[in-house]
């Protein structure tokens, strides 16, 4: 009986060439008889992963031209930030890319810290690193679940969201919120992790690679999934670099570029981890790279928990950081600082900074311009989804509509981040 449930070896001919568009429709020429039809997909469409509209020129079932139309969830966050004091901006920027909120917070808080020259304590660096990597796994799980759902693997969604829920439980326990936690502050983090959190996190770190193995067992030997992803949506490494694409998409094309390794920020220089890269740059490589990244992230979390230093979790500069609550009833100084920080906020000397970190989708940069007041004069996010979306046309040109949907899933745009 057992043999019936094992996967028959050698059934998938992974090297077999799929029929190309030219095989089926012939080369594109002037006197073709097929009619080109312009079709509108979205903005409200389950396969566009958000409020994205695609205007597609179709010749039969083949995409001949494509234009993404964006802006449907533009909420003017960057403008709203200009009317908020520095510490009140944090919850705003979290809501741009709503699946990687810790990254937005780190980009913004890190930029402001560098503007005012505030060094954060080692424990805060480690706590931030742990939270960022948990968030990276969370983001990749949402991506894997929804993209596999697009390709017909519905069960993947439930498995991925099961693990995602454990991460959200960890966030809730440490920060009080499951999403949009407002955990990072200028100067550190708002609270230390509670008792018992470390054990819970360790058990997650122990389980996660096993779960990833299960996902791979479900997808890597799945004939439908392999046929749908292998050799589809290939864009060369040079073209991706021209288009400014970063993150897993670039690494899947064989370019080992990761800001965590390249630049020195938070606790990453002390961590031992690898950068997974692909070879071909097709949708299958994009899937492999992200799945491998999840395992690397668990390694980083494990190391950071082992090496978690003691000491304060937020800097002790009362000009920028709220004093501990217990001091307010005994110290006049603390009361004054608290009052000033809560009412007016802190002032930042004129200057401007661009600070970039490696988000789950690529280079997430934050530009902050300070004019000397307690409100930023400009907050701009270089959102990786926004820039990466430009490569979508290259991915989907001259492929089938179904492959376009697959490429869009593998591109993983978050429209909240695209539109801001």
């Amino acid at each position: 009986m057992a043999e019936q449930h094992t996967f028959p070896q050698g059934r998938i001919d992974e090297d077999a060439a799929l029929p190309t568009v030219a095989d089926l429709y012939g080369e594109l020429d002037e006197d073709r008889t097929t009619e080109v039809m312009t079709v509108n997909i979205g903005p409200h469409h389950p396969a566009t992963h958000g409020v994205l509209r695609l205007v597609v020129d179709l010749e039969g079932e083949v995409v001949r031209d494509l234009k993404p139309v964006i802006g449907y969830v533009h909420t003017g966050i960057e403008k709203s930030c200009e009317d908020k004091s520095y510490w009140k901006v944090i919850p705003f920027v979290e809501r741009m890319d709503y699946v990687s909120y810790f990254f937005q917070m780190e980009a913004y808080c890190g930029a402001v810290e560098r503007l005012i020259g505030l060094e954060i304590p080692p424990r805060a660096k480690y706590l931030r690193t742990i939270m960022l990597e948990l968030n990276r796994i969370h983001s990749h799980l949402v991506w894997l679940g929804t993209t596999a759902l697009d390709l017909g693997a519905i069960s993947m969604l439930w498995y991925c969201f099961r693990e995602r829920d454990r991460i959200l439980d960890l966030f809730e326990m440490a920060t009080g919120q499951r999403m949009h936690t407002r955990y990072f502050q200028v100067g550190g983090v708002i609270e230390d992790i509670p008792l018992g959190w470390e054990e819970k996190c360790r058990s997650f770190v122990h389980d996660m690679p096993i779960r990833v193995g299960q996902y791979e067992a479900l997808l890597d030997r799945n004939e439908v999934f392999l046929q749908r992803t292998k050799g589809v949506g290939i864009v060369s490494r040079e073209r991706l670099l021209e288009l400014g694409v970063t993150g897993p998409l670039l690494r899947a094309a064989g370019e080992p570029w990761d800001l965590r390794k390249a630049f020195d920020y938070l606790a990453y220089p002390e961590m031992d981890f690898k950068i997974p890269v692909g070879t071909v740059g097709d949708n299958y490589d994009r899937y492999r790279v992200r799945v491998a990244e999840m395992v690397e992230s668990t390694k980083i979390i494990g190391q950071a928990l082992d090496a978690l230093p003691g000491g304060p979790f937020i800097a002790d500069d009362r000009k920028y950081v709220l004093p501990p609550r217990s001091e307010l009833s005994t110290s006049m100084e603390s009361l004054i600082h608290h009052f000033k920080l809560v009412t007016e906020g802190f002032r930042v000397d004129p200057g401007e900074i661009y600070y970039a970190i490696e988000g789950p989708r690529g280079e997430l940069g934050c530009f902050v311009l300070a004019d000397g007041s307690s409100k930023p004069a400009r907050v701009h996010f270089r959102d990786p989804s926004f820039v990466n979306l430009q490569s979508f046309k290259d991915m989907a040109m001259d492929s089938y509509v179904a492959d376009m949907i697959c490429s869009l899933g593998m591109l993983d745009p978050i429209l909240g981040g695209v539109d801001r």
Partner: protein, 168 residues
């Protein structure tokens, strides 16, 4: 990042090839900035990209900041990245308040396409030679440049049927 002296050396090298194009340099908070002549920004960027030994081939970000009330008022920022040496360099071109126009770099760096459209959308800066300079995030029929500092926050009336009926 090039450090302070490195930035001056770089300026010297650019001056040798493109005289007078660098107007100023600044080095603050470990970030190097070249302030260049907006009319020749394409020359500088292609020099930085193509000159052997420079290799700032990756444009990470293009964004605009409004320095109201300073004149020239708008700053177009090009965040250049040298991935071999892991160095960032900001090239900044300042544009006047009246009729801000600059050459598009879309053909040099295709990644600038969306970002220039975004800058046009929010600041009304004209990028000459851009293949499709239209609004990208705001509706096509929108009037005004909302990210400018003199555009009021809350300047957009939000009409609900309830408040319309009640307050006229």
């Amino acid at each position: 990042m090039p450090d302070g002296p490195g930035l001056e050396l770089l300026r010297g090298e650019i001056d040798a090839d493109l005289a007078g194009v660098v107007l100023d340099t600044s080095y603050a908070k470990e970030r190097a900035v070249l302030i260049v002549d907006p009319a020749r920004v394409r020359d500088v960027l292609s020099w930085l990209r193509d000159t052997p030994g420079q290799g700032y081939r990756f444009l990470s970000s293009l964004h605009v900041a409004d320095y109201l009330p300073a004149e020239p008022r708008f700053g177009v920022h090009y965040e250049m990245l040298n991935r071999e040496r892991v160095e960032r360099l900001r090239v900044k071109a300042m544009l006047p308040a009246e009729g801000p126009e600059i050459d598009s770099v879309t053909d040099l760096f295709p990644t600038a396409n969306f970002q220039e459209r975004e800058a046009f959308d929010f600041f009304g800066i004209i990028f000459r030679g851009h293949p499709e300079l239209t609004r990208i995030l705001l509706p096509e029929d929108y009037v005004g440049w909302p990210q400018r500092r003199d555009f009021p926050i809350g300047g957009e009336p939000v009409t609900f049927t309830y408040s319309e009926e009640r307050y006229g």
